[in-house]
Each structure stands twice: as C-alpha cells, then as structure tokens.
Amino acid sequence: MRLLAAVLAVLVAVLVLAGTLIPLPALVAIRFLLLQWGVLLAGTAALVGFYNLLAVHWRNLRKGGLQTLYSFILLLAALATFILVLLFGSDSPLIHTWLVLGIIRPVEASLMGLLSITLIYALARLTRRRLDLLTVLFLLSAFFFLLAMAPLPFQIPLLSDFLAPWLQNVLVTAGARGLLLGIALGVLTAGLRLLLAVDRPYGGK
C-alpha cells in the first residue's frame, strides 16, 4: 500500500508538472482533472480535520471541571453552526448576521487588535532581549517607517512623500526579494523531495 501510495504521488506530481509546462492538450486536460481532484481532496481533508476537532473535544467532555464546559460549548457551537449552514446556506441573513457578524467578526478583529499591544511591548523590550547589528537596523527601520506612516498636524518635508516610498521601493523591496527568492528555493526543494518520494508524509518515511 505504501509503495502504491508513493508511486501514485510521484505520478500525479509529474502529471501536474507536465500539464503546466508542456502545452500538449492531453497533458493540460489531465492536469485540469487532477486539479479538480485537488480541490475535492483538500476540501475533504478539511472535513476530516473538522471531525478531528469534534473528536478531541468529545473526549475532553470527560475531563471534568471547566474544560468540560468549554468543550461542550465548542461542540454545541460547531455542530449547530455546521447543521445550520448546511441547511440554510451561508448567505442566510440569520447566519450572516448572528454567526458571522455577531460572533466571528468581533472576536477575530479583537484578537487582531490585541496584537498591536503585544507588538509595541515586544518592540520596547527588544534591546533587552538581544542587541546586535541586525537588531539596531531593525529598530532604526521600524522607527523610521512608524514615523513616516504617522499622520501629523504638520508635514515633514520629503519624509512620507519621497524618502519613505523610495526606501520601501528600493531597500525594503531588495531585502524582501532576497527573502522571497530564498523561500522559493526552499519551496522548490521541498516540492522536489515530495516529487522524488524522499519525503512521504502520507505514511512512509
């Protein structure tokens, strides 16, 4: 079974690659079908994940104490939402108003808002944590861009109109390009490891 899985994975990867890079109609059509499978399987995997979430909290129900309450709330919320959306669709006003705008949006946005406090706090403590050239450059750059972004009652000549955009478009873009290229190399080799069945997260080594 494991060998079959590895062969399948390699074959599918090669077909997707070939369909992208070699413009033969047959290959392109196969790639199209495989991509449809990809959509289907990724969606199914999310459902398996959802089941996993329910199973974990179902097990937690027996833990006792507050954890039982938390898990019960989660299970109830998850199952009720799942069934409601399944029955009425996500665009039902009830679901949109109460679940999306009433619960999901405030909590997500509040958590995001909390991050701003964490960020300032982490910035303020950075020199206590670490002090090297990279830290100094990081701080200088962060302070500069914070100042450049801040709307003021008066204009600082050239700062936010010229200097900041130039720095962002040249120096920052240069660094970001290097980072992106490096990450792309990492992605490429990670993909190749899958392609050559060196990594087999689906059950083998």
Binding site: A13, L41, S90, G178, L195
Partner: protein, 216 residues
C-alpha cells in the same frame, strides 16, 4: 423588530470584544469560553461552507443532474470514491484505505509547489530585477536597480547554509552576507511597522464599534 435585532447583535459583539480584551489581564475563564465558542462557530461555519461548495456543488449536484454526461458521471463517481477513501482517515482502523488519496493530494501539492516556486516567484522576481535595467528607462532607475540587485543577492547569500570544517562560511560569503544583514534588518523593520499599522487599524475599528454601541 429590526432595532432589537441590531441592538442584540451589537450587544453580542460588545460582550465578545470585552471578553477577548480581558486577556490583557491574563488568561481567564471568560476568555476561554469566548475562544471555544468562537472556534466552534468558525470551524463549523467553514466546514459547512466547504462541504456545500465542494461536495454539494461540485459532486452531488452534477451527479444528480439528469443532463450530466455519462462519462462525466463516471468520472464524478470515481472522484467521489476517492474523497470517501480520504474520509476513512477518520477511522484508525480503516485509515490505511485513505493513504492513496492522501498521496494523490501530496502529489498535486508537490506539482503546484514546484511550478508555483519556479513560475510564481523565481522567474518573475528575476524578471523584475532585470526590468530596472531596461535601456529605455532613465538613469535613476538604473541606480535603484543596482541597489535592488545588490540587496537581493546579498540577502540570498546571507542564508547560505554550507560551512567548512570549523562550521564557518567562506570569507567572501561572510562579507556578502553581512551586507545582506543590512537589507534584512531594514526589510524586517519596515514589515514590522506595516504589520503594526494593520493591527492598530483593527484595534481602532473595534474600539470605534464599542463607542458606537455606547453612543447608540
């Protein structure tokens, strides 16, 4: 009728926002309760949307549609079978049936990853670097292009992993890497400021909503 619903909805948002902000004081039962409610609702919502979008709209509806071509129907049935195989992963005993389906998913991911990395990043970024040296462009873009080139190269060199016996990199790589450090520091600083700006806007929006609730 409309007003109480809006008001209740705003009240719900207000309470939940306060519960989340209570985390500032430390982890507490109210925060945990809110988090569990939120995780349950969001996960249930997303799972249902995915189920509808993928299984209903793309599998069942065409399958049940009498106008669907036989060949397409066979293909859909086969796809359904594959998805059901993957679903068996929820059972520890039957899980191995789903392994080929997981392998197919990994294979598709590998193919997309490789093409995405090469055609989505490597080549476009290479082109973008070269674009600054367009003969038709003015000289100042050439200067910017040179800085961009140096930055990209030195940042790339900064991450060189190989080392000699003493676990140090060769001197010229170190020199190049140290200039990459400058670009890295500047980039991360700018990204930090940008991220803070985003989170700050989210906080402002939340607090604005709270105020609106009070002023209502």
């Amino acid at each position: 009728m409309n007003l109480p619903v809006e008001w209740l909805n705003a009240l719900l948002g207000f309470v939940l926002t306060l519960a989340i902000f209570s985390y500032l004081l430390g982890d507490n039962p109210l925060f945990r309760l809110t988090i569990h409610l939120f995780v349950g609702v969001s996960s249930g919502y997303i799972a249902a949307v995915i189920f509808r979008q993928v299984w209903l709209h793309q599998l069942f509806q065409p399958l049940l549609n009498p106008q669907t071509d036989v060949l397409l129907r066979a293909w859909l049935l086969f796809s359904l079978l594959l998805a059901v195989f993957l679903l068996t992963k929820i059972s520890p005993r039957l899980g191995s049936i789903g392994t080929p389906a997981a392998a197919i998913l990994s294979g598709i991911a590998a193919g997309l990853m490789i093409t995405g990395a090469v055609q989505g990043t490597l080549i476009p970024q290479l082109q973008a670097t070269a674009a600054a040296f367009d003969p038709s462009r003015p000289l100042d873009t050439w200067l910017d292009g040179l800085i961009l080139l140096l930055g990209a190269i030195s940042t790339l060199a900064y991450f060189h992993f190989g080392a000699d016996q003493s676990l140090r990199r060769r001197w010229w790589i170190r020199v190049l890497a140290s200039s990459g450090l400058i670009f890295l520091g500047l980039t991360l600083g700018a990204l930090f400021a940008a991220l803070y700006s985003s989170t700050l806007t989210a906080l402002i929006e939340r607090l604005d909503t709270l105020i609106s609730f009070f002023l209502r």
